[in-house]
Symmetry: C2
Subunit: 437 residues, 2 copies
Amino acid sequence: MPVILNSQNPNFDADFTALLHTKREADQDVDHVVAGIIAQVQSRGDEALIEYTEKFDHLSLTPETLAFSPAEIDAAIATVPNAERSALELAATRIRAYHERQIPNNEWWTGDHGEGLGWRWSAVERAGLYVPGGLASYPSSVLMNAIPAQVAGVENLAICAPTPNGKFNPLVLLAARLSGVETIYRIGGAQAIAAMAFGTETIPKVDTITGPGNAFVAAAKRRVYGHVGIDMIAGPSEILIIADRDNNPDWIALDLLSQAEHDASAQSILITDDADFAHGVIRAVEKRLETLERRDIARQSWRDFGAVIVCQDLEQAATLSDRLAPEHLELCVQDAESYAQKIRHAGAIFIGAYTPEAIGDYIGGPNHVLPTARSARFSSGLSVLDFMKRTTLSRMTPAALAAIGPSAETLAKSESLEAHGLSVRARLDQLNKDTQS
Amino acid sequence: MPVILNSQNPNFDADFTALLHTKREADQDVDHVVAGIIAQVQSRGDEALIEYTEKFDHLSLTPETLAFSPAEIDAAIATVPNAERSALELAATRIRAYHERQIPNNEWWTGDHGEGLGWRWSAVERAGLYVPGGLASYPSSVLMNAIPAQVAGVENLAICAPTPNGKFNPLVLLAARLSGVETIYRIGGAQAIAAMAFGTETIPKVDTITGPGNAFVAAAKRRVYGHVGIDMIAGPSEILIIADRDNNPDWIALDLLSQAEHDASAQSILITDDADFAHGVIRAVEKRLETLERRDIARQSWRDFGAVIVCQDLEQAATLSDRLAPEHLELCVQDAESYAQKIRHAGAIFIGAYTPEAIGDYIGGPNHVLPTARSARFSSGLSVLDFMKRTTLSRMTPAALAAIGPSAETLAKSESLEAHGLSVRARLDQLNKDTQS
C-alpha cells in the first residue's frame, strides 16, 4: 500500500515534509570506485575500456569492435518490423519539429553611445550520448538525446550503449540512424563516460556528454563535469498526477503505474480533492497490478514510494505540487490549461485527461529527459541549448569609450586593478589628443 | 619571459598543443577536506559555520552577526565617494539593460492534430551568490551575479562574502544594494557553499548558487551540484588578443597585463601575424612591469603562462583561437566585426582596438563571469538563463491522441513497458467506443 495522506489530518505538514525528503536511492559509495575507473581509462585508454567491458558486461571487444560496424548496424536495422519503424519515424519527426523551435536567436544592437552589443550562439563540435543498457536500453532515449544535438548543429555525435553479454536492441540502432548518429560504441558505465570525456586511442574526446545512467554513470558525470559539459545528474524518475473526481480511475491508475513500472525506485503520487476518487484509483492500481507484466517492479515502487494525497481543494494541490517540483506532472482537472498557470516548478506538464505521460515519453514532441528529485526547482529538461553555448559581443566606438571609459577606470582603481584602469586611460588619452589636434 | 612560438617553426604544432595543455592550477587535493566541511555544516549548521569562520577568516561571529545588519550596510555605503557611486550606478544600469534582453520567450502553439505544445520559463525562488573575499572582493562581481538573477525574477537573493579579519569593501555592499540584494553573510569558503546548499538555522537553503571562488569553493560547488543548480566550475582567468601591426603596442601590453595582474595563475596570450609587432608588445609589457602596482603578480603570470604566437596570417589566428577557446578574446584587427564571424569558441569577444577587456569587466553590459580553461567549447558566461528553468507543456486533444497514440503504444510495447502502452490504449478504446455510439 502506498502512503495515504489527508490534508485535514493534524500531522499532514510533517507527513508531507517527510514525503518530500524520502530517499529513493541507496547511498552507494561508488565515487571511490568511479575515480579509479576514470584514472585507468585516462592512463590506459582502450586497454582499460576493454578490460572493464569484459568484467562488467561479459563481452570481449577489441579496439576494432568497440563500435558497431556499418554492416552490423544495417543488419540489425533490417530486422526491425515495419510498425516499429514507422512509429519511431513519427516520433523522430515530432521531436525534431518541437526542438527546432528551441533554436535561440543571435542579437546585435546599438547602444546609447553608438557601441555595438550582442551575443551569438554556436553548437558544440562533439557530443557523446549515453544510452543505458540492459532493461533500460530505450530507443526513445536515443531520439530524445540525439535529435536536440542534431538540431543544435553538432557535427559529431557518438553514442555509448553497453550491450551486456552482447545483447542489444536493434531499435536503438535504428533510432541512432534516424537522428544522424553514425557511431555507436558498445561500452557503458563510468568507463564509457571517462572514454568520452578524455578520449582513448579509438574514441575521440567530446565536448558535452548527456543521457541518463545508473549511480556509476552519475558519479562519473559529476567527476568529468567542467572538463566537458553535462546535461544533469539524473536520479530515479517520478510522476505527480493532480486529478479531480471527474476522471476514470483506471486511466489514472495506469498513468501512475507507467511510472512505477520503470524501476523499484520510481515514485508515483496522486493528489486529489476527493477521498472516494482516491480510493477508487488505489483499487484500480491493485487490480492492474494483478496482471501487469512488470508487476513485481511496479508493486515494489508503489508500495515503497507511492503516495496518495487527499487535499482540501485544487488550490492547495497546486501549492503542494510546487513543493514536490515533480519531473512529470499530469493535470487531469477541469480547465486544465488555465490551471497549469498556477504551477511554477515542474519538468514537464501534461495537460488534460487525454495527455497520458506516455505520450510525452515517446511521441508528443517535448523532451523526456527531465529534472528528477525536485531539481525542477532550478533546472530544465534536455534541450537544444544543452548543445549550444553563447559568446557575448561588444564593440566600443571612440565616442562610447569616451562616455563610459572614465567610469570603468574609476571602478578599476577602486578594485586596485591598475592595469585595467590604464588600459582604458591610454585610449582615453589618445582620444583627448586627437580632439585637441 | 613568456613562451614565444612561431607558426613557421617545425615544432609549432607540438608547442601549441603543449600550450593548450598547460596546467595553471596545482592539483590540490581539497576534495576530502571539503567533504568534511560540508558534512559538518549539514549536521551542525550555524555552529560549524561560526567555527570555520573563526578558523579560516579569524573572525568571531554569532548567529545574529552572520549577516551584515541594515545599519552596518547603511554606514558602509555612506562612506563610498561620489565618483565610485556614480560609476557603479552606471555599470548597474548598463548591465541591467544588456541582461534584460536575455529574458527568454514562452511559447505555445497548435500542432498538426489540434494538440497544444510549448514551454514556459520561470525563475528560481532563491539564489545564493558567492563573492570572493580579500584580494578579489570585487563590487563588479556582485553586479555581474546579482543583476541577472534580479532580471530573471528571483525573489530572494543572498550573498556570501568572506571578510577575513573582519575587513570588507564598502563598494561590495553598495553593489549589493544597487542590485536588489538585502542579505549579505560574512562567510566564505566551502562552508558558505554548504550553508547555502543545505541551509542552517540562520541561512535559508537556496535553489541555485553562482559566483567564482578558490579551489575549496569550486570543489564544494561540484559536490552540491544537482542538489542545487550552479553556474560553472571556474578556474583561473585568461585572455587571448589577436592583433595586427596597426595597433599601439602599449595598449595591447596593458590589455595583456590587465589579465596578468588578476593572479599568478592568469594567462595572457597574444597572436599576431607580425614578428616585429610581437616584439614591440613584449618590450611594452616589460616597460609597464617596471612600475605597475601589482607587478609581482603580473610578472609571475606573464613569465609562467604568458605566450606570444607569431602566425602566418589572420586566418590561422582564428583557427588557433578556436583551439584555445579563450574566456576573453580581443580582436584588434582591420574590419574586426566581420573577423569576429570566424570565431566559434570564446566566452566573450571584444571587437576593435577601442574595446579593451576592462570595459567588459566593468561597464560594457555583457557579463564578466565567463567560461575558463577552454570550457567555452561547451559552456557560456553567466546569464539570466542561469536563474531560470523551462517547463515543457503538452495538451493532447482526443483527435491528436487518436492520431499519434497508436505509435506511442507500439513503442511502449517494443520497450516492454506495458503500462505505458495501456495508459494510451485505455483512452483509445474509450474514443473508439465514443465514435461507435
